[in-house]
Amino acid sequence: MTWSTVKRALFVFAALLLAVPAAAQETPVKGGTAIVILGSDPEHLNVGISTSYPTGAVGANIYSGLVRSRADGRPEGDLASSWTVSDDNLTYTFKLRQANFHDGTPVTSADVVYSMLQIEAPNHGRFKTAYDQIASIEAPDAETVVITLKVPYAPLLSLLTVFDAPVLPKHVFEGTDPLTNPANDAPIGSGPFKFASWVRGERVEIVRNDDYFLDEALLDKIIFRIVPQDVARSTALEVGEADLLWGFYMPPADLPRLASDPNLNTWTGITIPALYFVFINTNTPGLDDVRVRQAIMYAVDRDQVVEQAQGGLGQAGSGPFGAGFAYAYDESTDYRTRYPFDQEKAKALLAEAGVSGLQLRFVYDSARGAFAAAGDIMRDQLRQVGIDLVLQPAERAVMVDRVYKGDYDLTMQSFTSSGDPTIGYHRIYRSAAPGTPFVNATGYSNPDIDAWLDQAGGLADQDARAEYYARINEVLANDVPVMVMFDELASEASSGNLRGMRTLLDQRDGLEFLWFAKP
């Protein structure tokens, strides 16, 4: 009996202890179909090339990563049965479980290496950032994967989940362009559910994988229903046409009403810190002047945005990395004290910069009601200081294309941290070439920031990390290429008899744990 099996046995025992009180009341039952609401159609279903929310929602339940994160953030084996870390924190050795892809082909270490090197490193917004820290990814035998780092890198394990490093079938992707492979629309993974069908703009259906290597899914089928209208989403839940609505797609104004519905359960809290922010395109004439960007910071009342656009489900932006990570937050540069709502100050800065009659385009995803409301507030408040904001809502795919090609002046976005600022937030500030979705689109590039981000991300020791974040915070508080609007409070609403949500860290993950209690 190896040490890792002992640990696993202990863990299983502890998990059983924790599970007993719930199990005494209700025993999970198999069967049934749950309808989960998505606000927009996924562009495709390949989580390996996109950090898009709807793609992740479907893809995470079809594919597997090496590890997965429990609700409390603890990593545990997904495709990896166990792993060891060398004493110098540079080499991670993973042992794979016996698992098959949905087409029956066994999952081997070659699939893991191929996915990471050929598909995710060049194409995945978050994995790309992490890959800069990795010296090599190798497969000494069919069941072993060895990842060697250049420098110690704290968040590596949380980057090996299905959202950042899904294991894709090499035999399907080899020799093709991963961005256009037809399997992106009809994925073959090794996860708890198999892809069944996709009616564009309407629904994606996935069914239980009876050959799954871990906890077999309880539900027979999950239907992701695409409901672009904010209001229709809450209504679908209220009339029983859907079972689960995540905060990402929830009209914040509806939450109090859903909470008072006796047939529904609602929940609010923080799962994974997430930021809502406004990219300021530093290539736009006028916005290249730091004083103009600072003026925008002063001109917008972010508390009003939280209160009215987000229905209070947030906390006004405090810094480049939000308030969710103590080591990355710095009181001395807190935006709430550094940039209070002060339109006179904004006007003075604009006058000093010699900018007048500035007209800016505000590009946002038309499916996100909170963005539209934030745009209305910003348009009004910027107008008070003499900046004319033109709202340009766009369908999500169009919005993504425009923003990441730099065809915007201001744009509102929301990024999840994925459990570590290194994964989720560094890409907002690190220099990036235009064209890659979901990375820095402001055109802001500062070699110091890039270097400090790398340093901060390599240290496991949080006090040491904090020093670098303090430096970064100070520079960014002055340069403000990004107006951090607020830290999000997550929410969720579900049918009264749906159980098993949020077993894993990301709300979208672990849908195999969902089940329906008998009424």
Partner: protein, 289 residues
């Protein structure tokens, strides 16, 4: 059809029409609503107590609270001022779209009706094609694809609304082109286009105006529907856009939806009744009894 009256379509005819219009009480009421709407739209900057885009922390104030006669919306904007400014978009889109539709409709109808033959066949098949398109669905798609600026809205609604006018104009031309005054014009060697647009058109305009005024009402409704589905121009205050925002809060702030809804109702009612009055004025036999 009295052949003698046709060539004399002039002042006396119009004043007779006005006399008949005045006798239609619903027509006069419609006209009053249209005039009221026009005044509100033109005088919006004077009439509105607040700027319609100005937000404040005082959201969801009920009507009559703190100087807001019709209350405030979810972002603290004054509802009365938004309703007043919203009339501009409705009226502008309504009139411009109806004008576009009438222009296309008259052109197509006149050419088809007067020239006849295979050309008529072709134009009528095209007209039928446009007639059977589900207008709202196509407008949704076009606006979603090309953006929802005012000009786009006007063009989309206009281009989707002309078939009725075209068919009507064609039928007018079919009956007029055999009348003696047209024969006379031809005998005098007038050019085709002169006969079509200088001679026949003035005599065919009555029914066209009726349809145009009903088109305005339809266009206002279509614009509001697009706005309601979130496809209006977010940079303009429109009744449809207000309703779109209001639907989220319908149980919390009824005033956000009731007043713009009221505006749409009055505008549509106004142009419809006005159209009824025109029908009565130009063709008493067709007037509703």
């Amino acid at each position: 059809m009295e052949t003698a009256a046709a060539p004399a379509a002039g002042r006396s005819n119009a004043s007779a029409a006005w006399r008949r219009f005045r006798r239609s009480s619903s027509g006069v009421f419609g006209l009053a609503l249209v005039v009221l709407l026009t005044l509100v739209a033109v005088l919006a900057p004077v009439l509105a107590p607040y700027d319609p885009h100005t937000t404040s922390r005082a959201a969801f104030m009920p009507p009559l609270a703190a100087g807001h006669v019709l209350g405030t919306d979810n972002l603290g904007r004054d509802v009365l001022s938004q309703v007043i400014w919203g009339s501009r978009v409705s009226l502008m889109v309504g009139l411009a779209a109806a004008a576009t539709a009438t222009l296309i409709g008259v052109l197509v109808g006149a050419l088809a009706g007067y020239l006849g033959g295979w050309f008529d066949e072709l134009l009528m098949r095209i007209t039928e094609f446009f007639q059977v398109i589900p207008r709202f669905v196509l407008a949704l798609i076009v606006v979603a694809f090309f953006g929802s600026g005012l000009v786009n809205l006007i063009l989309v609604i206009g281009v989707l609304s002309w078939p009725q006018t075209a068919r009507l104009v064609r039928s007018q031309y079919l009956s007029h082109k055999t009348l003696p005054y047209v024969d006379a014009g031809r005998a005098l060697g007038m050019r085709k286009f002169r006969i079509m647009f200088m001679q026949i058109l003035p005599n065919a305009m009555g029914p066209v105006l009726v349809v145009a005024s009903l088109d305005v009402a339809q266009a206002i409704l279509l614009e509001a529907s697009l706005g309601f589905f979130g496809l209006g121009d977010p940079n303009l205050t429109s009744w449809g856009g207000m309703l779109n925002t209001a639907q989220t809060f319908i149980r919390r702030a009824w005033w956000m939806s009731v007043f713009p809804g009221f505006g749409i109702t009055l505008a549509v009612l106004g142009f419809n009744l006005f159209g009824d009055g025109l029908t009565e004025a130009y063709d008493p036999r067709m007037a509703p009894r």
